[in-house]
């Protein structure tokens, strides 16, 4: 299907792909595009729930909470840690794409949702 609707891509030389550059240009427009990866420091919060993969942190019976061994209640606690981290990233990085990508792509006129 790419063959039918990729008219804006015709000048791209397939052998000359250099993705080590974070961005390249949309052909014919001069605007920056490429992979358009946006990094925010807040995104690193998403690593915190992965601590759950370190089993030695919670692999014990004591202390129990409401009868639940530590192994179980600490992992249930991680559900909330995960939710909090994803929610924080959502709240802090939600609407920035307008300033970054869209202005590059279409100039100042396309910024409204």
């Amino acid at each position: 299907m790419s063959d039918h609707n990729s008219d804006h891509n015709e000048e791209r030389d397939p052998t000359d792909w250099d993705s080590r550059l974070p961005v390249d240009r949309i052909e014919g427009t001069g605007h920056l595009a490429g992979n358009a990866i946006q990094f925010h420091w807040w995104n690193l919060l998403l690593l915190i729930p992965l601590l759950m993969l370190i089993t030695t942190l919670y692999n014990s019976d004591e202390p129990r909470l409401f009868g639940f061994p530590a192994f179980y209640w600490i992992q249930f606690l991680f559900v909330f840690v995960g939710v909090a981290c994803v929610a924080l990233v959502f709240l802090t990085t939600g609407s920035r794409r307008h300033s970054a990508v869209r202005r590059q792509e279409r100039g100042q006129d396309g910024g409204e949702k």
Binding site: M1, S19, M52, D61, F78, V86, F90
Partner: protein, 547 residues
């Protein structure tokens, strides 16, 4: 044949029939101008909002099989079965950002399947074909397993005949499912998911509050379970992890989390949503199901404390461990409430089975039929092809259960998880960079797939006498790279999927370096950077169900 449980069966049948009616009426729900387009039939018009997506994806990811198999695993093996909780907790932070990019690029280009994206990103029909075939092969046994979940409920209710007749009710249930999926497409499971998940929440919350009070509290339940595991000869079970299975626990959770959104049915649920904010909010709200699944897993221990044992399956002549949770409900709840619980599990089988068959049908249509058989198929022909394919897929799954030992489906699903993980470089990494060469990705796929399958083949289970495909836990001492044992005599276990994925990635990187140095041509990338950030309401956004 034991006695039929009349009250339970009646409650079950009433709810089941109600859901079937909903499934047929769903075709008119929020309907677009035409049903004869994959955007409409296969993705529900790409316009599901937050609540619908929550129920749909929740119903899709947390399947009936999960609900019966996870407690059964906890019942049998203890703590290792609880991996389902870390799996579904680390899942959302990991996939939060990639699925947004996948949604945007798919929305921009009208992609319906993950293989569509690979086709567009790499311009390589071969790579897309491999991704599509992997998706279909991994999904098929998953559909069959939903039948295993449904059948566990039917057998507990006393519909437990031997031989072919024993499977007949299952066949009828799936026939109804197949017909309304054919008619209504993704709208049917989306609408039914409301009922299914509503019932599941009621049942599980009631169970985790009521059962402990009846069985002496959670503290006592854990103590009884612990004593049971201490009495078994196996050193691997227990209510805590052992030295040997901690790495398996962590890697199984991680590998499963990485694999889940590579499954075509998960992608279908995501692509059907209206915009990025719907997905973002769902990534925050979906862990409610994870919490529920964790509680449900603990019912395995409750079953130990209640002295419940699995029911004999009269078709195979063996006890069916998946009947554990239904049997627990049967012994502890009044019959009408047990009937509701069974309906929750039974309907819980239909939602994912419908979505999975739609996803597999989309893959067949877009990446095999349109690519290789009829290049000029119109959207109308695509939709018709997919509808028929969804029927074939479902009856294939029924045939699996009917004519082949259900154990075979369980083995295949285990293999499927390892297989689908091998598409991670081509699908997930490609969302961020196109540095990997398409031919290198093919090489990595071949190595990861081959080695992963070989390793699974070598895993025996001494307890059951099975020699091959008896699990996904590989003992590190058995890991051999052309005769070299990097981990010596270590008895620590690891999930095969991550080992195969590591090999896949190494091969993909090395071959890419070689191919780039040799300036071997790569396909053309049809996507642009801005495509990965497209959102609902953008000007110039592609129209739905037109092209």
């Amino acid at each position: 044949m034991s006695g039929i449980h009349v009250t339970e069966l009646l409650v079950f049948l009433v709810l089941f029939a109600g859901v079937a009616v909903m499934g047929f009426l769903a075709a008119r729900w929020k309907s677009g101008d035409t049903m004869e387009h994959l955007d409409e039939w296969g993705l529900g018009g790409r316009k599901f909002g937050g609540w619908i997506t929550w129920f749909l994806v929740g119903g899709d990811l947390y399947t009936a099989y999960t609900f019966v198999a996870v407690p059964a695993l906890v019942f049998g093996a203890g703590a290792i079965g609880f991996f389902a909780l870390p799996y579904t907790v680390v899942l959302y932070p990991i996939v939060f950002l990639p699925v947004l990019r996948l949604w945007s690029v798919s929305r921009s280009h009208g992609y319906v399947t993950p293989a569509d994206f690979v086709r567009g990103r790499y311009g390589s029909p071969t790579l897309a074909l491999l991704v599509a075939i992997t998706g279909i092969v991994a999904t098929m046994p998953y559909i069959a397993l939903q039948l295993v979940g449904l059948e566990a409920v039917l057998r507990t209710m006393g519909i437990n005949a031997s031989g072919f007749i024993g499977h007949l009710p299952l066949f009828i249930a799936f026939l109804v499912l197949a017909l309304y999926t054919y008619k209504s497409g993704l709208r049917a499971p989306a609408l039914i998911a409301f009922v299914k998940d509503g019932l599941i929440y009621v049942v599980i919350i009631a169970a985790v509050i009521y059962l402990p009070s009846k069985l002496g509290g959670w503290g006592s339940i854990f103590d009884v379970a612990s004593a049971k595991f201490a009495a078994t000869p196996s050193p691997a079970d227990g209510i805590l992890l052992t030295r040997n299975n901690q790495l398996q626990y962590a890697t199984l959770a991680l590998g499963s989390a990485l694999a889940l959104f590579l499954y075509p049915h998960s992608v279908t649920g995501i692509l059907a949503s209206r915009g990025r904010n719907v997905i973002k909010k769902n990534m925050i709200a979906l862990p409610a199901y994870s919490f529920l699944l964790g509680l449900l897993a603990l019912l395995g221990y409750a079953a130990i404390a209640a002295g419940v044992t699995p029911i004999m399956n009269n078709s195979t002549g063996r006890p069916d461990s998946n009947t554990l949770v239904p049997a627990l409900f049967d012994s502890q709840f009044s019959s009408w409430f047990a009937g509701i619980a069974y309906a929750a599990i039974g309907i819980g089988a239909l939602v994912p089975a419908a979505i999975m068959s739609i996803a597999a049908a989309n893959l067949w249509t877009r990446n095999i039929y349109k690519e290789y058989i009829d290049k000029h198929a119109t959207p109308k022909q695509e939709a018709r092809q997919a509808k028929w394919a969804s029927l074939v897929v479902k009856f294939g799954a029924v045939a699996f259960i009917l004519f082949i030992d259900p154990q075979f489906s369980i083995d295949l699903q285990l293999i499927g998880g390892v297989m689908i993980l091998q598409t991670l470089p081509a699908v997930a990494i490609a969302l961020y960079t196109r540095w990997l060469h398409s031919k290198a990705l093919i090489a990595g796929w071949v190595v990861g797939m081959g080695w992963g399958l070989y390793l699974l083949w070598t895993i025996p289970n001494p307890a059951t006498g099975k020699l091959h495909f008896a699990g996904s836990a590989l003992t590190l001492s058995k890991l051999s790279i052309v005769g070299w044992h990097p981990f010596g005599a270590s008895t620590v276990q690891i999930y095969v999927g991550v080992v195969a994925l590591a090999a896949n990635l190494i091969v993909a990187v090395v071959v890419t370096v070689v191919l780039r140095a040799a300036k071997v041509a790569d396909g053309r990338d049809a996507t642009r950077g801005a495509d990965y950030h497209a959102d609902e309401g953008d000007p110039e956004l592609r129209e739905i169900a037109v092209h």
